[in-house]
């Protein structure tokens, strides 16, 4: 694989991503949701019903831990699902593939750009969560990362940043499944439906087959919690399960993409 070609393709993929309106719509919706959530939390805190330990500084942590396997995951599906299928459907996939760049280089650029997209979304989400928290919850008080668990504000903020960065890992694992659907389906709507469908399937399997729960990636989405607590054996099992998904699905994706006939 030629690094220069990979970087050129990656630059193009990033340009395509930032040109897409979808990204900005998702970020606006996320911000509105955060504002609503921060406001709701402040009201409940006033009435001392619950969430009294959440300050504006710890709100980003609270927000991500609550939404990583729901809203954030859903928006990952929305943003990544078109990466191959949109281009294949619109007939633009062939444009890059007839240039002096190998399919492996092109596809690697697609995968890296998807990861960078998630990271970008997490970064913006961190700042907008901080802003939402500051607006409705204020920046006073200690940093509680869970009930009764307190650390200094600076340590809390740094750990939250790492929490956000590390959250890329499980999301990257699931994004390989989304890319797989994007690879095989020409319609993005079908990719989105299948990705959401697999989420439900994972839920059902987790309930019906208790023993297989450990092999389901969505049951390991809270792996970032180890930023705030000591690593135990559960961390390693979560880590290797997610890594396994990345390796297996990227292998399938690369093999499939290399053999794919571009008919549009």
């Amino acid at each position: 694989m030629e690094m220069i070609k990979l970087l050129k393709a990656l630059k193009n993929e990033m340009l395509k991503i930032f040109k897409s309106k979808k990204l900005y719509i998702v970020l606006v919706i996320l911000f509105l949701y955060q504002l609503l959530m921060a406001y709701g939390t402040s009201q409940l805190a006033k009435e001392e019903i619950m969430f009294g330990f959440i300050s504006g500084l710890s709100f980003p942590l609270f927000f991500l831990s609550e939404s990583i396997s729901s809203l954030i995951l859903l928006f990952c599906i929305v943003l990544i699902s078109g990466t191959i299928s949109d281009e294949n459907n619109e007939g633009t996939l062939k444009l890059s593939l007839i240039r002096p760049i190998t399919r492996n280089e092109f596809f690697t650029a697609k995968i890296i750009s998807s990861f960078l997209l998630i990271l970008f979304m997490l970064t913006i989400t961190f700042f907008t969560a901080l802003l939402s928290g500051a607006l409705f919850l204020g920046l006073e008080g200690n940093f509680y990362y869970s009930l009764g668990q307190e650390i200094s504000k600076s340590e809390g903020l740094i750990k939250t940043i790492f929490y956000y960065i590390f959250s890329l890992f499980p999301l990257a694992g699931f994004s390989m499944i989304i890319i797989f659907f994007s690879n095989i389906f020409k319609k993005t709507a079908l990719t989105i439906t299948s990705s959401i469908g697999i989420l439900f399937l994972f839920q059902i399997i987790s309930v019906i087959l208790e023993k297989s729960k450990i092999f389901i990636i969505t049951n390991h989405f809270d792996i970032s919690k180890y930023i705030f607590q000591d690593i135990d054996k559960d961390f390693y099992s979560s880590f290797f399960i997610i890594l396994g998904y990345i390796i297996i699905f990227s292998t399938i994706n690369f093999v499939y993409f290399n053999k794919k006939d571009i008919l549009n």
């Binding site: 630059k11 193009n12 240039r99």
Partner: protein
Amino acid sequence: MITLAEIIKATNLHKYFGKKHIIKGIDLNIKKGDIYGFLGPNGAGKTTTIRMLLGLIKKNQGEIFINGYNLDKDFKKAVDKVGAVVETPMFYENYSGYDNLKLMANLYNNVSKNRIYDLVEMVGLTNRINDKIRKYSLGMKQRLGIARALLNKPELVLLDEPTNGLDPQGMKEIRELIIKLANTEKITIFISSHILYEIELLCNRVAIIKNGTKLIEGNVKDLLSENNETVELITEDKGIENILKNYEYIQGIELIKNGYKIEITKGNTSYLLKELVNNNIGIQYMIPKSKSLEKYFLDLTNGDDQIA
């Protein structure tokens, strides 16, 4: 064996879609400097073949060499000096014309801004290059598609139906552009078109395929200059076939609206004329008819004139 003069050499290409055998052992030899026409009825496998030549569709069997490089083993080198417009040119619709060109230029090593602007000027889009693609007409898209195919100063350009959907003026412009490219930039052109007279006007060599098999490949002049020639005899007299049927050089006589269409062995027109005069046939006109590529194509494909 590949000679330096061959810019495309494809041997024994096969492609299956499921159990359907689409391409059945096609060989192609395109020499540097050719304007090569690729013809065939609808569904013959032209677009599939072109996509195989570009690596977009994976062949099941066969070998493709472009500029002497094996497409499978040396893909980057093989396509480095190749440009293509495959079917209706597609673009990133929310980008401007310039951004579309820039996006593809990014994938080459040395495509300067000047090169992009020169191409834009060449295809006559200077005033519209910053407009979004969705504001472009089909003709403008075709021209921009050709500009995009030329970004890397290619030695070979593959054009799949480049005039498809264009009005006569647009077709003429694209045709002139192709001739200009072939003559001034010394680019080898591989072109499929559904308009046979256009291929006849443009190309020096053609291949005709049908049902995934190549029927013939050769120089247009050689294909059209056969042993026989045809004349149309405009006359009011009848029964001429009885007079001419015994002459060896007469290959066929067909009754038409104002007279006869007579096919004769080449070089015997004067004998025919003499014989008609000797038999007191009233000749109003005798018109030599040259064989067109269209006629040749229809003869070869048994009248299957649904070409695309």
